[in-house]
Each structure stands twice: as structure tokens, then as C-alpha cells.
Symmetry: D2
Subunit: 184 residues, 4 copies
């Protein structure tokens, strides 16, 4: 079984809804065990347990919410040098398009890289002119189908990479998938 952690902080509920959609995407890949936890619930053992992690935080003033940064500064502090090679990705909701959600995803990925994780974005387009190249990004609440699908696709890709890299399942290789990945 591949093991996936979805770790989020949410104030308004938007990022929590994104986390739920990410989990739906993970469930598309067989043989995955998934924990969805907020920063209030997650402990260091959740990180050591998982093969891959998706981290979601609202974009506050262009960057990571302090509550999520506090979690990474404090909770897994002693795990540094013990997490190398796990797989990670990011998602974020901002107040508006152009409001920094991409930059926040890169800040989250920077933290994950500091802990030794391999990080990625989604190459696929999930709708016309809509992608998640550096993580799933939204303005406000996820509502439209393509917005939800960008979160699901992120979770699906994370599960595919975990299956592929941690369990040698070449059937999970994204390059071999037959679902549509290109813009129409």
C-alpha cells in the first residue's frame, strides 16, 4: 500500500475543500492509503508514515499562512535528514487571481525541499487554459468543475508517483495514462 498524507491549514474552509478534492484524486489510484489532517491534528509520525504528502495553505499576503509555517518549523524539526526521497506537492487558495497562490506553492515546495523531498507540479491541463504546473491554485472557494479537477489531478499525480517510485508500479506512470492530459 502506498501511503499519502494530505496536510492542510484552513481558516475560511476553502483550503479544507481543496484538501477533500485532493483526497478524491488520490482515491483514483488503486492501493493507496490516505490520511487527511489539518495542522491541528497532524503529528510528526504522520510524515514518517507517508510516502508522499500534499500540503495546502491559504495564501496570506502572498505567502504561506503563519500557522502552516509554524507546523513545519516545530513539529517535524527532529525529522530533518530522515525524510529524504519522499514525494511532495502543494495547493493554495488566494484572495484573487494574480494574488500570489503560485508564489505560495513555491514557498511550500521550498520548505519540502529543505526537508529532502522530491517535489513536483502537474503538467496536465484540466480544462481550457487551466492547469496546476506548480501545485493547484485557486482564488477563493473551489466551485467550478475544472477547479475541483485541478485539486483531484494533483492528488492523483501524487498517488501515481508514489506507486511508480515507491512500489515500482509502471502501470501508474503518468506518461502511460489514457485519460486526457492535454488542452483541448
Amino acid at each position: 500500500m502506498g501511503k499519502i498524507l494530505i496536510l492542510y491549514f484552513s481558516r475560511t474552509g476553502n483550503t479544507r475543500k481543496m484538501a477533500t478534492a485532493v483526497a478524491e484524486g488520490v482515491a483514483r489510484v488503486s492501493g493507496m492509503e490516505c490520511r487527511v489532517k489539518s495542522t491541528r491534528e497532524a503529528v510528526a509520525e504522520d510524515l514518517t508514515w507517508c510516502d508522499g504528502v500534499a500540503v495546502g495553505s491559504p495564501t496570506n499576503f502572498g505567502s504561506i499562512a503563519w500557522e502552516m509555517k509554524k507546523w513545519w518549523d516545530e513539529v517535524p524539526f527532529d525529522l530533518w535528514l530522515k525524510l529524504d526521497g519522499k514525494i511532495g506537492c502543494a495547493f493554495s487558495s488566494s484572495g484573487g487571481w494574480g494574488g500570489g497562490a503560485e508564489l505560495n506553492c513555491m514557498t511550500i515546495l521550498t520548505i519540502l525541499m529543505n526537508y529532502g523531498l522530491l517535489v513536483f507540479g502537474v503538467t496536465d491541463y484540466v480544462g481550457p487554459k487551466f492547469t496546476a504546473h506548480y501545485g493547484a491554485v485557486l482564488a477563493g472557494e473551489p466551485r467550478a468543475e475544472h477547479e475541483l479537477e485541478s485539486c483531484r489531478r494533483l492528488g492523483q499525480r501524487l498517488a501515481e508517483f508514489v506507486a511508480m517510485h515507491k512500489e515500482g508500479r509502471t502501470d501508474a506512470d503518468p506518461v502511460r495514462q489514457i485519460y486526457p492530459r492535454e488542452p483541448r
Copy 2:
């Protein structure tokens, strides 16, 4: 007269259309002289001439088009240490939302900072859930009114800052403006 340079590279025409809208925004502030030039036209003297510059490049594979980077690597090479204190900002069109336009704007601003410029984004929302906090960002062609307005507002803000900082015109201070700057 405040002097504004709008420097762009465009392959499909999208970034050129954004440049035109940025110029319209500059024209909203009185007493501004504005040059709009592509990387094929602009020379080093355009940079020494201007008080402020808006730089636009398509987002290609998540970052600046090589043609625009080549311009900055070569054309103003000898101007380093001679441009400090000028004002700069960025705009970019990407293939899709979530496709890296914010990251590209930050790469552009990084180059401008290397040349000593003071760089900024637009705090204002120009429509529901639509802003330009790190530069004007679009997916594809600028079409909707709020998309065009994000470009115009970027040019307007650049002109306001030039008027304010270079000419001491407190009337141009964005904080004193009466046009709507907040989300509805």
C-alpha cells in the same frame, strides 16, 4: 515630464496587447511621456532615458522567454550600477491559469532588482477576485474588461509612483486616489 518605458517581447501577440493596455494606464496620469518598444526595437538608451519601466514577457515553461532574457543579458550590460532607483514592474501571459505567470513576473522583477530598480506590484483589485499583486498576469489573450484593467492599472500605478517619487507630486500618491481600489 515623467518618462515611462514599456518593454515587451511577444510571439503570439498576447503580450503586445497587454503592453498596449499598460500604455493606456500610463496615459491616465498627466504629464507622462511613454515609449512602447519590443525587444527588437529597444536600445540601452531607452533604459537610461526612462524613470520607470514595465517589462512584459510570455511565460514559457514557467519562466521568462529567452528572447527577453537575452535582451537583459546583453543590451543594458554596461548600465549596471547606473540605473539604481528607477522604478520597475512586470506583466506576463501564460498558457493557462496556474501556469507560472506569477513566477515569471517574479523572475522579471529579480532581473530588475539586479539592475538596482525599485520594483512593485498592484495592491488593488480590479474586479471580483482579480488582482495584479506581483504584476499583471493572464492566461492567453487579454479579453475581459478586468483582464485589460489589470494591465492598465499596472501602468497607471507605475506612472503614479514615477510622478510621486521622481517629481514629488503628492497628488499622484495611490493612497490618495478616489477611484475604487478595493474588492467589491
Copy 3:
């Protein structure tokens, strides 16, 4: 009088020592009033008071210390759209060279841009192969002369820009200075 705020968070004392050196650099420019405050001391009024701000945070796991992010998420929350046009810069100490101090400076500048500030780095080299293009960066404690000078030069440049842009003092223009700015 130009007004400068130096805002820092320090756990080990390294960032506090950098803040002191930044203040020494501010003092090189005549007619500047300077407040040096930690996140525990600084209030929203310090931001409205100042013309320019230098923000320093240790690099923790490649990004801003949560304590500094918490300050920006909470203390000046109501000042958004009221700070546009002030001038800002960053400084940071990391555990090691290559450890993310540049990335952390860019995260700090991202937050400042979100609040509408004009941000900058230092073009000058302050010693052989030593600069502060995106803010003053160090590994550990500031000790060597060029390390301290990078902090001082940041403060000096901030004061020069405040004098130049806020008070129209062309004598403060960095381009006109006679101290050595180029690598030897």
C-alpha cells in the same frame, strides 16, 4: 527627516546583530530617524510612521520564520491599501551558504510587495565576491567586515532611497555616490 523602521525577529541573536549593522548603515545618511524593533515590540503604527522598512528574519527551513510571518499576517492587517509607495528591503541569516537565505529574502519582499511597497536589493559589491542583490544574506553570525558591511550598505541604500524619493534629495542618489560600489 526621513523615517526608517528596522523590524526583525531573532532567536539566536544573529538576525538582531544584522539589524544593528543595518541601523549603522542608515546613520551614514544625514537627516534620518531610525527605529529598531523586534516583532515583539513593533506595532502597526511603526509601519505607518516610517518611509522605509528593512525586514530581517532567520531562514528556517528555507523560508521566513513563522514568528515574522505571524507579525505580517496579523499586526498590519488593516493597513493594506494604506502603505503603497513606501520602500522596503530584506535581510536574513541562514544555517549555511546555499541554505535558502536568498529565497527567504524574496519571500519577505513578496510580503512587502503585497502591502504595496517598492522593494529593492543592493547592486554594490561590498567585498570580493560578496554582495546583497536581493537583501543582505549571511550564514550564521555576522563576523567578517564584508558581512557587516553588506548589512550596513543595505541600511545605507534604504536611507538613500528614502532621501531621494521621499524628500527629493538628489544628493542621496546612489548613482552619484563616490564610495566604492564595484568589485575590486
Copy 4:
């Protein structure tokens, strides 16, 4: 056999010397085949061939050399959606410490992520206060032992991840290695 590509652009020779050291690090892991190619030599097939790639570019004005960006904009254009899951990392030499080499590494990693690669940095310290958390970074030419070792360790880690993820070799897991990874 794991397959590693080291792709570099070098003007002064500094980045080429870094590439050589990265290749030495790759050779520390058994069963690796390695190609070292400049942007003038490398073709699209080199990317499809490899399991992992280390990309090196000088830091020019705070970001990627245009020659390296041109390579990524043009050469592997048709490989998009066909490279997902390969592993990538970055290295760069800047004119000075604080000159943007970390930012350039992140720009390189951004491009690799756009092509679907999993990207990483090195958690290890390779000398007192010296690491490569976002890629190997230097000012000028690699000379000191810890500078060369940061490049070697990057190549070694890339090879370890390729062995681990592409070939299921748990013996290559960095977490199980016995060489010193922590600061002394």
C-alpha cells in the same frame, strides 16, 4: 543501469568545472551511466534517454543565462507530457555570494517542474556552514574542497534517487548512507 544527464552552459568555464564535479559525484554510485553535455551538444534524445538530469547555468543578472533558457524553450519543446516523473536538480555559479545563485537554481527547477520532473535539493551539509539545499551554488570558480564537494554531493544524491526510485535499490536510499551528512 541508471542514466544521468548533466546539462550545462558555461561562458567562463566555472559552470563547466561544476559539471565535472557533479559527474564525479554520480560516479560514487555504482551502476550509473552518465553523459555530460553542454547546451551546444545536448539534443532532445538526451532528455528522453536519461532517468535524471542535473542542469547548470551561470547566474546572469539574478537568473538563468539566456542560452540555457533558449535550450529549454526550443530543444525539448515536443517532449512536454512525455518526461513526467524523471528526476532533476540544479547548480549555478554567481558573481558573488548573495548574487542570486539560489534564485537561479529555483528558476531552473521551475522549468524542470514545468516539464513534469520531480526536483530536489541536498539536505546534507558538506562543510561548516555550507550546503546545497536548492542546488549547488557558488560564487565564481569552484576551488575549495567544500565547494567541489557540494557539486559532487548533488550528483551523488541525484544518482541515489535514480537508483532508489527507478530501480528499487533501497541500498541507495540517502537515509541509509553512512557517510557524514550533518554539520560538524
